[in-house]
């Protein structure tokens, strides 16, 4: 298992472009009921899909359910996948729609069950510098910061949160986000701008410190 859940977009792009035909072969086999091929596709994208859903919900149990349901739904809908976009974008779209629908239903009961921070977080120089200024106890400071950060993210609208999560956390490009969110690049940029403005206001103490 990788320590960091979501890697930047550069790696995603190369993954997607290096073997698109191989991926299409797997998709085609899965479409004809080959579960082994689908297993391979799930393993390929499970971490990224889980991470996106988790960063949107800030809840491990919800992310677990939604990520699994997204893969099940994608398998059942494989016949409708025409190959107009990459399988990865199509799968992302399913997960994002499912998550947004879920969040709309959950609106009145927002709660967090945050995932633990990995070992690397404590050794990240930027974070260490930030926390050292705020609190003498580093681990307690990190958890507090994590909670504040997630609470601030949950205050954003779903579309603004999604733009920030996909770009600043997951590292996807504007073009990819536009495809996933079914909108143009200008809309993505504007959502990103307003989301960051809101976050900066909500996390003013921590952002100034850096």
């Amino acid at each position: 298992m990788t320590a960091i859940m979501a890697e930047p977009a550069e790696r995603n792009d190369s993954d997607a472009s290096s073997a698109p035909s191989e991926e299409m072969v797997l998709v085609d086999r899965a479409r004809h009921g080959d579960l082994k091929a689908y297993d391979e596709l799930v393993r390929r994208y499970q971490e990224r899909i889980y991470a996106t859903v988790y960063h949107m919900t800030s809840n491990h149990e919800d992310a677990n359910d939604l990520a699994q349901e997204s893969f099940v739904k994608a398998y059942q809908a494989l016949k409708s996948f025409k190959g107009g976009s990459s399988f990865y974008t199509w799968l992302y779209r399913i997960a994002v729609n499912k998550t947004i629908n879920f969040l709309k239903q959950r609106k009145n009961r927002q709660y967090m069950s945050l995932n633990d921070l990995d070992f690397n977080a404590e050794h990240n120089p930027e974070l260490v510098a930030l926390i050292s200024e705020k609190t003498p106890r580093r681990d307690a400071g990190l958890s507090e910061l994590q909670e504040k950060l997630n609470a601030a993210l949950l205050k954003l609208s779903e579309s603004h949160r999604l733009a920030v999560v996909l770009h600043d956390v997951q590292g996807l490009s504007h073009e990819e986000i536009a495809k996933i969110m079914h909108c143009n690049i200008g809309t993505v940029r504007s959502r990103l701008f307003y989301a960051r403005q809101q976050l900066q206001a909500l996390l003013a103490d921590y952002v100034k410190a850096t």
């Binding site: 579960l35 799930v42 699994q68 099940v72 059942q76 633990d116 930027e126 990190l142 950060l149 900066q200």
Partner: protein, 147 residues
């Protein structure tokens, strides 16, 4: 936009903390297995006959049997009330008083109200009393007149 990116650099560094949030150890080891398990379960349900699928839906979602029972009770009550309250009107032109009525197309003046009750009518006079007939009785004298 690049200026904006610079303005938010501090925020972006802070957001990078999110990348360190990880699920419980070993979580992804069995993730695909759980997904495939759900797919197989869904396919198995789809292959069942409709009656079994319905029963399974009743088992998995408690709201379904409650809704089904409520609908059944409502239907039953509606049936009972409608049978009790609405008599069936049958017009019978032959039994009407005026011969014109038999051929008139307007609303019938005479109608027979037929009780929708399916119980056989019980004539209480059958037991222990004489039948009530409208025919006139003539007393017959069987005694001889002296002839």
């Amino acid at each position: 936009m690049s200026e904006n990116e610079e303005n938010f650099e501090a925020l972006r560094r802070l957001l990078a903390l999110k990348r360190h949030e990880v699920p419980p150890p070993g979580y992804f080891e069995d993730f695909s297995g759980r997904v495939l398990g759900r797919i197989r379960a869904a396919e198995a349900v789809r292959e069942l006959p409709w009656l079994l699928r319905l029963l399974q839906a009743f088992e998995t979602k408690p709201a379904y049997p409650v809704a089904f029972a409520s609908a059944l009770c409502t239907l039953l009550l509606f049936g009972i009330v409608s049978v009790e309250q609405s008599p069936v009107l049958v017009s019978n032109p032959v039994l009407s008083n005026s011969p014109d009525d038999a051929f008139s197309t307007g609303p019938r003046s005479s109608a027979i109200v037929v009780n929708a009750n399916t119980n056989p009518p019980v004539d209480v006079q059958l037991f222990g009393s004489q039948p009530n007939t409208s025919a006139s009785f003539q007393n017959v004298d069987f005694t001889s007149n002296g002839n």
